[in-house]
C-alpha cells in the first residue's frame, strides 16, 4: 500500500480518484482512457471501467499492458488481480475480428482459425455467414445486410468487431459553413469541436468512419454535427430525442450553414418533410403502424443518406438500434454528454454506432471557459399558515401542487432577482396559474406554450439583446428556448423527479457568457413538504455530476425586500 497515491480501485472495476491529491492529474491520465466518469461529488470522483470503456480504449490505440502499468503506478491499494485480468482480456479482445470489404464481398476475418471455429458455434453469428468456414480458414463471407447484426451479436459475445469495410458516400450536397451567422456573429468552431470532427472523419482516404463524440452539456455538440455534415458534403439524417431539439437543430443549421429552409426538413409527429438534411425524432421512427412494424422506417431509405447523426445517443431507443443495424454502410455520428445509459445497452451503441472517438471532460470545458461554471442552490421557502394547513389536509396528489404553488415563492424570486440585479434571468415553472400570478406580482413578462410563436420569438430576441433582463417561462416553453445569455435560472415548480429534465434545464444556462460570468441555478422548495425530499434526490444528482450544491433558507431580510 502506498498512501501517497490518489487512485483507489475496487474489485468490480470502479475507480475512485481523489481530486485534491497532488498526483490527481497524472492519475486522471491513467483513468480517463479506460473508464467513464460515473459521478463526481466532492473530491472523490468515481469512474466505471466496463467492457465498452475498455473496448473504446483499445479502439483509441491504448494497450492493455500500458493501461495496467499506469493504473498500478497510481493505485493506493494496488490493482486487484480480477480487475487486471479483465483489462487484459477485454482490451485484447478488440480487433481479433475484423470486417473488411473484398472484391468478393464483405468478409469477417479472425486472427486465428480457432477463433472463427468458436464463432461458428454461435447460432446468431452463423446466421450472418455466407458459408461455413473450413477448419484452417481465418475468414468467412458475410451477408451484406447482416453487417450490423453480426457486429452486435459478436459484441454481445464479448468479441467486438473492428469494422474496416468502409462506407458509401451518400447523395452529394453542396454545403459550407457561413462566414457569419444570419444573426451576424462570426461562425467559428472552437478548437475541441474541430478536434472532435477530425477524430470522427479520421485520417483515412475514404473519410473516417463511425463513432461517438462525448462533450459536456452546453459545449456545443450541434456544432460538431454541423461541421461533420459540411465536411462530408452528403445528405444527412439527424435523429434527436424530442421535437424541441429538432427545432434547435434546424435553426442552427440555417443560421450557421449555407443550407436553406428548402434543404432542411423536419420529420416529427406534426411535420413529415424529407429533404437533403432531415431532422427527425427517435419517437416518430419508433411509432408502429398496427402489426406492420415501424410506420416511418422508410425514412432511412427515402434518400441516399451519407451520414446519420444520433443526437443524445445515450437516449437512443432499442427499436432504433435494430434499424441502425441495417445501416452499417452509412457513416454514423453519435453525440452525447455521457456514454452511460440507464438501460445498460452501451454494448449496442459501441457495436452499431461505433467506439468513442473524442471526449472533452466537463472540467476542462469549464476551465477553458467553454462552458459556464454553475452554482446550484436550493432555497427553502416557508409556507404561510393557510397554505400549510391546505397542504396538510390535501391528498397525496394535490399536495405536490400546493407545495409547488406556495405563494411565498414569489417573494423569494423577487429577492433572488435583486441579488442578481442586472443579470439575465429565467424563472421556470410548471403551473401556469402560478406563473401568471408571479408575472403579475413581479411585473415580469411571461412566455407560455399558448403564446403565438411570433410573439414568443419576439420576447426571446429582446431577452437576447438585453432589452428584457428577466423572463418567466413555462416548462413547455423553456424547452424551445435558446437563450445563451441567461445566467440565472430560478425553478419555482416542476416535476422534480426527472434527472433528465434537471440536466436539460441546467444545460440552458451553461452556455459561456459574454461577460465570462458564472451561472446560478436556483430551485425553490417549500419547507416541510415533500418537495424537500424530491429536491434532495435532484440535488444529489447535481452533486454527483460535480456541481456545487448548497441549501439556503429564504430570509425576508435579504436584499430585494424593498424592491417594488
Amino acid at each position: 500500500m502506498d498512501a501517497s497515491l490518489p487512485l483507489l480501485i475496487q474489485s468490480d472495476g470502479t475507480l475512485i480518484l481523489d481530486e485534491q491529491h497532488p498526483l490527481y492529474a497524472e492519475a486522471l491520465e491513467a483513468v480517463r482512457p479506460i473508464a467513464e466518469i460515473g459521478k463526481q461529488p466532492g473530491r472523490l470522483h468515481t469512474y466505471r471501467m466496463t467492457k465498452v470503456s475498455l473496448w473504446n480504449a483499445a479502439a483509441a490505440g491504448e494497450t492493455a499492458d500500458r493501461a495496467v502499468a499506469r493504473l498500478r503506478s497510481c493505485s493506493r491499494y494496488g490493482l486487484p488481480a480480477s480487475v487486471e485480468r479483465e483489462i487484459l482480456e477485454t482490451m485484447d479482445s478488440y480487433g481479433r475480428f475484423r470486417l473488411v470489404s473484398r472484391p468478393s464481398g464483405l468478409m469477417l476475418l479472425a486472427d486465428h482459425p480457432e477463433r472463427l471455429r468458436t464463432a461458428y458455434a454461435w447460432p446468431e453469428v452463423v446466421a450472418c455467414f455466407e458459408s461455413s468456414p473450413e477448419n484452417d480458414e481465418t475468414g468467412v463471407g458475410i451477408r451484406p445486410e447482416k453487417r450490423g447484426i453480426l457486429k452486435s451479436a459478436l459484441a454481445a459475445r464479448g468479441c467486438p468487431v473492428l469494422d474496416e469495410a468502409g462506407y458509401r458516400d451518400g447523395g452529394a450536397m453542396a454545403v459550407s459553413m457561413r462566414e457569419r451567422s444570419l444573426g451576424g456573429k462570426p461562425v467559428r468552431l472552437r478548437p475541441y469541436q474541430k478536434e472532435a470532427v477530425d477524430a470522427f472523419l479520421g485520417s483515412s482516404v475514404d473519410g473516417g468512419g463511425s463513432g461517438v463524440v462525448v462533450l459536456p452539456c452546453g459545449a456545443g455538440k450541434t456544432w460538431v454535427g454541423m461541421s461533420a455534415l459540411v465536411r462530408l458534403g452528403c445528405e444527412t439524417l439527424i435523429l434527436t430525442p424530442n421535437s424541441v431539439s429538432v427545432t434547435q437543430w434546424i435553426r442552427e443549421l440555417i443560421e450557421n450553414t449555407t443550407l436553406t429552409e428548402q434543404e432542411v426538413g423536419e420529420y416529427t409527429g406534426r411535420n413529415k418533410s424529407v429533404r437533403p438534411v432531415t431532422v427527425a425524432t427517435y419517437q416518430v421512427l419508433t411509432r408502429r403502424a398496427g402489426q406492420e412494424g415501424p410506420a416511418h422506417w422508410s425514412l432511412f431509405e427515402d434518400r441516399d443518406w451519407g451520414l446519420i447523426i444520433y443526437d443524445e445517443v445515450h437516449l437512443l431507443p432499442a427499436p432504433v438500434f435494430r434499424m441502425t443495424a441495417d445501416l452499417q454502410a452509412t457513416r454514423r455520428l453519435g453525440l452525447t454528454a455521457t456514454l452511460v445509459r440507464e438501460d445498460g445497452r452501451e454494448t449496442e451503441v459501441f457495436a452499431l454506432i461505433g467506439p468513442k472517438l473524442y471526449e472533452m471532460p466537463w472540467k476542462t470545458g469549464e476551465r477553458e471557459g467553454w462552458i459556464a461554471e454553475a452554482a446550484c442552490t436550493e432555497i427553502r421557502v416557508g409556507m404561510d399558515e393557510r397554505s400549510a394547513r391546505r397542504y396538510q389536509e390535501a391528498g397525496a396528489r394535490a399536495r405536490h401542487r400546493i407545495a409547488g404553488e406556495n405563494p411565498a415563492k414569489a417573494e423569494a424570486v423577487r429577492r433572488l432577482l435583486a441579488r442578481h440585479e442586472g443579470v439575465p434571468a429565467l424563472v421556470i415553472g410548471q403551473y401556469l396559474d402560478q406563473l401568471r400570478r408571479m408575472a403579475r406580482e413581479l411585473g415580469l413578462p411571461l412566455v407560455t406554450g399558448e403564446m403565438p410563436h411570433a410573439e414568443r420569438r419576439e420576447l426571446f430576441d429582446r431577452f437576447n439583446r438585453g432589452e428584457v433582463r428577466t423572463l418567466i417561462v413555462s416548462k413547455v416553453a423553456n424547452f424551445a428556448v435558446d437563450l445563451p445569455e441567461a445566467a440565472v435560472a430560478i425553478q419555482v415548480s416542476g416535476s422534480y423527479g426527472s434527472r433528465q429534465e434537471e440536466a436539460q434545464r441546467l444545460g440552458r444556462i451553461l452556455r459561456p457568457k459574454a461577460s465570462g460570468a458564472k451561472a446560478w441555478f436556483y430551485t425553490l422548495v417549500s419547507e416541510g413538504t415533500e418537495e424537500v425530499e424530491y429536491a434532495r434526490n435532484r440535488g444529489r444528482f447535481l452533486v454527483e455530476q460535480g456541481y456545487s450544491y448548497a441549501v439556503e433558507h429564504d430570509r425576508a431580510d435579504e436584499p430585494g425586500e424593498e424592491t417594488p
Binding site: 500500500m1 498512501a3 461529488p41 473530491r43 493506493r76 488481480a81 480480477s82 434532495r536 444529489r540 441549501v551
Partner: protein, 592 residues
C-alpha cells in the same frame, strides 16, 4: 481448551512442580499468574531455549503427529517405539517432563486411560520455536516473475463477517423449535456473502442442520458465537452489544489475526497437518511471496497444507501463484499477532479517515478500524462492500439511527470526528430534515438492548456452531502425581546397582534384568562400552532352560539400529538404562 483454561484446572501436585521451575518461579514472583505464564510466548521461548533435547524432540513429534488433539499415552508410546527412535521409557519420561514443564496437559478418560494434549492456542507458538520453517520470501526480482492465480476478489474475513453481523444486529437470526436456523434467515445471510458454501464445505467442517444451513453461513454464525459478538437464545441468534463493542475495538488486521487464531484452534486443532500449516503460515510476512515447499518441509502433509491454504484464500487472507513452475503464496494481511500493527492496508498503524461526500455517501478506506465501521453500519445503508466500503446516509437509515439512540448533534459530531472535517452543507441539511421528520421525541431512551452489561471477556473462545471433529474430551484433568514409581512400576523393588553400572550376573538375574527392561520398555547396556545400547523387544525361550532376547541395537546418532537376538550368554555385563531421570527431575519435580 486454551492454555489459560488448562492451567487453571491443574492439580496441585503438577502446579507445584511447574511453579518450581526457575523460569516460572521468577515470573510468579514478578506478579504473573501461572495461567498467564503458561500461555505466554516469552515463557515458551525461554523454555525452548533451555529445555532438554529429549523433551523438545518429543514435543516436535507431538506437534507433527497429534497437533492439539488429545492422544492416548499408551498408544503414543507404541507408535514412538514403532518409529524406532524412542524407547517406551524415554517417551513416557518425556511426556511426564513436558507435563511438569506446563507444556503438555493430561486428562483421564472415565475408564482410566490417560490422554495428553497441547493447548491449541500454544500450538502455533511451539511450532515456531521448535519447527521453524526458516522460509525466506522471494526477492524483488523473483517476485516480478510470479504469476498470481485467478481468484475472485475476497474481503478479509473480518470485514465479511462484520457485514453479516451488522445485518444480524438489524434482524436477529430466527431459530426453529429444533434449534435450526430458519431457511429464509440462512438464505438472506448467505446471499450477502462472497464466501461460498462450497469453499467452506471443501474444508470438511461439520455443522448441525447441514441440509438447510449453508456452510458459509454456519461459519459466520460459528465465529460470531466464538468471538462473543453473537449470542444464542432459545429462538434466535442476535448480537451481544457489549461483547461486540469489545470485538470491534481493534484494527481490521488485528481482527483478522484473531480470527485466524480462532479458526486455527477451532477448525484445525484436531488435524496436526492443518494445525501446523496454520501456525507455520501465520509466521510468514504479509505481501511477500513464499514457496509452498519451504513451509511444507517441516513435516506438513500436502493435503493438509492445500486445505488450509484454500481456506485462507477464501477468507481473503492469501493468494496463490506460480513462480517458475513452483507453487507460491502470499498473505494479504498479517496473521501473526505480533505483526498486526505493521504494514498493510488494513493495519492499525495506518488508521485512515472516512470521507463524507456532499451526496451523503461515506467512503471508508481499508485503514479504518472496526469500531467506526460498526457504528456506520448502525446509522447508514451499506452501498458497497469492497476494498473501499461505501455507505449512504438516508431517511430510513436515520430512522434506524434514531431508534438506536443517535441524536442529531451526536451523529453530526461523530461523522465530523471520523472524517476529520466539517460535514458538507447538503449532508448537514439532510440530517436536520430527517431528524425533524422522524421527531427527536421518538428516540429510544435506551439506545440498544443491554442484555449483557457484564464486563465482556477479552478472550474470545466461546463455543460455536461448528463442531470440530475429534475434539479432545478435556473435562477432567489427570490428578495423579507424576512419579518415578508411576513411570517405572517396581522401581524401588530392584537393586539400585542394576541401574548404576553394568554387572556380570547369574543367568537368572540377567533374565530378570531383561524382563524388567522389557516391562519398562527401556534399553539395556550390554558390555562395558557406554552408549552401546540394546533395546529388548521380546524374551524367547530356546529350550533346555536357555533363553535369548530379541531386539535391536541402538545407534547413538539417530536411535535406530540393527535388529539382533542375544542369547543369554551374550547379555553380560548388563545394566538397565533408564532415561536420565536426574536431568528431568533435577529440580525435584518428579515425585517419589
Amino acid at each position: 481448551m486454551n492454555a489459560r483454561e488448562c492451567a487453571a484446572g491443574l492439580p496441585d501436585s503438577v502446579r507445584r512442580a511447574i511453579e518450581s521451575d526457575p523460569a516460572v518461579r521468577r515470573r510468579r514472583e514478578g506478579g504473573m499468574e501461572l495461567e498467564q505464564i503458561l500461555s505466554s510466548s516469552e515463557w515458551a521461548a525461554e523454555w525452548a531455549s533451555r529445555a532438554d533435547r529429549l523433551l523438545k524432540e518429543a514435543l516436535r513429534r507431538i506437534m507433527l503427529r497429534y497437533g492439539a488433539s488429545a492422544f492416548e499415552e499408551e498408544k503414543s508410546e507404541e507408535e514412538a517405539i514403532r518409529d524406532g527412535r524412542w524407547t517406551g521409557a524415554e517417551w513416557r519420561v518425556a511426556l511426564a517432563g513436558l507435563r511438569l514443564a506446563g507444556v503438555l496437559f493430561a486428562v483421564r478418560k472415565p475408564w482410566g486411560d490417560r490422554l495428553y494434549y497441547v493447548p491449541a492456542d500454544m500450538a502455533a507458538i511451539w511450532q515456531r520455536l521448535l519447527l521453524p520453517t526458516g522460509a525466506e520470501p522471494l526477492n524483488l526480482q523473483e517476485t516480478g516473475e510470479v504469476a498470481a492465480g485467478a481468484y475472485p476478489f475476497r474481503l478479509p474475513l473480518s470485514l465479511e463477517l462484520l457485514s453479516v453481523w451488522a445485518d444480524i444486529r438489524r434482524t436477529a437470526v430466527a431459530l426453529t423449535a429444533k434449534g435450526a436456523v430458519s431457511k429464509p434467515s440462512a438464505a438472506k445471510i448467505g446471499s450477502a456473502m462472497r464466501l461460498t458454501a462450497e469453499e467452506v464445505e471443501a474444508f470438511g467442517l461439520a455443522h448441525a442442520h447441514r441440509d438447510q444451513l449453508p456452510a458459509s453461513v454456519a461459519l459466520a454464525l460459528d465465529l460470531g458465537l466464538r468471538t462473543g459478538v453473537l449470542s444464542r437464545r432459545e429462538r434466535e441468534i442476535s448480537v451481544s452489544f457489549a461483547r461486540a463493542d469489545v470485538w470491534m475495538n481493534r484494527s481490521v488486521q488485528a481482527a483478522d489475526a484473531e480470527l485466524h487464531r480462532l479458526a486455527m484452534c477451532a477448525y484445525a486443532a484436531h488435524d496436526p497437518g492443518r494445525l501446523m500449516a496454520a501456525s507455520a503460515v501465520s509466521g510468514c510476512r504479509a505481501f511477500s511471496w513464499y514457496r509452498d515447499r519451504d513451509i511444507v518441509r517441516i513435516g506438513i502433509a500436502p493435503g493438509a497444507w492445500e486445505a488450509w491454504l484454500h481456506l485462507l484464500v477464501a477468507f481473503g487472507w492469501a493468494e496463490r501463484g506460480i513462480y517458475r513452475g513452483e507453487a507460491v503464496f502470499r498473505l494479504l494481511t498479517e496473521l501473526s499477532d505480533e505483526r498486526t500493527r505493521t504494514s498493510g492496508p488494513y493495519a492499525a498503524a495506518t488508521e485512515e479517515r472516512v470521507a463524507v461526500m456532499p451526496d451523503g455517501e461515506i467512503y471508508v478506506p481499508p485503514g479504518v478500524g472496526m469500531q467506526v465501521r460498526w457504528r456506520l453500519e448502525s446509522v447508514c445503508e451499506r452501498v458497497t462492500a469492497d476494498r473501499l466500503f461505501v455507505y449512504r446516509l438516508s431517511a430510513p437509515s436515520i430512522r434506524r439511527a434514531c431508534a438506536g439512540g443517535w441524536r442529531e448533534p451526536e451523529l453530526r459530531e461523530y461523522l465530523e470526528e471520523v472524517s476529520g472535517s466539517e460535514l458538507p452543507g447538503p449532508v448537514r441539511e439532510a440530517l436536520r430534515d430527517w431528524y425533524r421528520t422522524n421527531g427527536q421525541d421518538r428516540i429510544a431512551e435506551s439506545p440498544e438492548p443491554e442484555e449483557d452489561s457484564l464486563p465482556p471477556a477479552q478472550d474470545f473462545s466461546g463455543s460455536g456452531w461448528i463442531c470440530a471433529a475429534a475434539a479432545p474430551p478435556l473435562d477432567r484433568q489427570d490428578e495423579e502425581p507424576v512419579s518415578a514409581a508411576g513411570l517405572f512400576p517396581g522401581l524401588t523393588d530392584i537393586p539400585p546397582i542394576w541401574l548404576r553400572k553394568p554387572g556380570s550376573y547369574h543367568a537368572t538375574t540377567r533374565r530378570e534384568l531383561v524382563r524388567r527392561a522389557l516391562g519398562w520398555r527401556t534399553a539395556l547396556q550390554v558390555g562395558e562400552e557406554e552408549g552401546r545400547l540394546f533395546v529388548p523387544e521380546a524374551l524367547e525361550t530356546a529350550g533346555g532352560g536357555k533363553w535369548r532376547v530379541r531386539g535391536r541395537w541402538r545407534n547413538a546418532a539417530d536411535g535406530e539400529g540393527e535388529p539382533d537376538a542375544l542369547p543369554a550368554e551374550r547379555c553380560s555385563p548388563l545394566m538397565i538404562v533408564l532415561p536420565d531421570l536426574e536431568r528431568l527431575t533435577a529440580s525435584g519435580r518428579l515425585e517419589g
